[in-house]
Symmetry: C2
Subunit: 227 residues, 2 copies
Amino acid sequence: MERKRAIVLLSGGIDSAVCGAIARREGFEVTALTFSYGQRHAVEVARAREVAFALGVARHHIVTIDLASVGGSVLTGPGAVPCDREDPASGPIPPTYVPARNTIFLAYALAWADAAGATDVFIGVNSVDWSGYPDCRPEFIEAMQRVACAGTKAGAEGRAPAIRAPLVSMRKAEIIRLACSLGVDLSLTVSCYQADAEGRACGRCDSCVLRKRGFRDAGIADPTRYR
Amino acid sequence: MERKRAIVLLSGGIDSAVCGAIARREGFEVTALTFSYGQRHAVEVARAREVAFALGVARHHIVTIDLASVGGSVLTGPGAVPCDREDPASGPIPPTYVPARNTIFLAYALAWADAAGATDVFIGVNSVDWSGYPDCRPEFIEAMQRVACAGTKAGAEGRAPAIRAPLVSMRKAEIIRLACSLGVDLSLTVSCYQADAEGRACGRCDSCVLRKRGFRDAGIADPTRYR
């Protein structure tokens, strides 16, 4: 019997690495997709390579797309990354939101799934310890599932890939504990929005704040290198 | 008052040109998006430039993405384009389907809409005189509308862009008549899946069969150059 296949969106951060480990534990042959989209923290692409290797994925594609020319985000253009916010989920959608980024990523994942016959697509979105991005919410995942059913060949044939967001309702501390139980080497991951070329984190952006707190609440030593 | 903005997906073919003309007639400032995605009929990108100029769009972005490496279609890889089919809509989804292509195109359109504050996104899909592609059906457009509502900043703020597919239920002949009434120069457009570098059509692929029949049924002279 042929091995079941999954597409895993892999960013180089904690959540997607855990998704990859879940997919591997479930016995999937994994195709990992990482996007070099013009993000200021381009080092995450290199980290995603290391994570993919550690996970033992079958294939890892780095997809180069240009979201900088779309604009609308401080992650791909000028403007300050918010720092030292106590509660990143409060207030309006922050300027680190990248317009329709997860829609684009999942669209590509559906293309790869349709072409390769993958039955599952994993995305590490989270809407608990998060920055309030609309494209990380359960209702967004449900909408993309409808797209998978209506807009792909597999879907039209009644075998749409399942879009899976296993971390969507978990606290960051729980995700970190899960990572450890799955043997994910979190020292490979980088979360910082303004990590330097060596992957050293600022410790102050929303992503760093949430990551730091997650390790603290999990009672697990934080392997992050801060500058 | 600021002019209302629309994103129009422009392929270089008839249907998207008509969508562009509808958007212009409705008074939109139009940003046209055309994808150079590795299609064998790359001449359509050059034709899209001419159509965009003729429509008087405000901006035209050619977005280069690599769908050839995804595979799964004879439009981006090896394999024969089906020819001389009497009824392109019959039978299974043909090998000219490009996996999740319209999902990817609309995802980008939502990104541009979110960044630019566009209120409408136009796509020229059609599910009457068509090739049976899943991502041209009304249910796919409805699913993408949910994504626009759930997954974008504008959507989260209660002002999701409207995804408009004004041609979805029209016959090709009706679309051609509408094009003429809107003053669209259809001689600029190219539909053929295997058009040569000068834009000359094969006259035999599904897209040519539907286009030819459309002109014939509309009683309008076909300006297409066949080789």
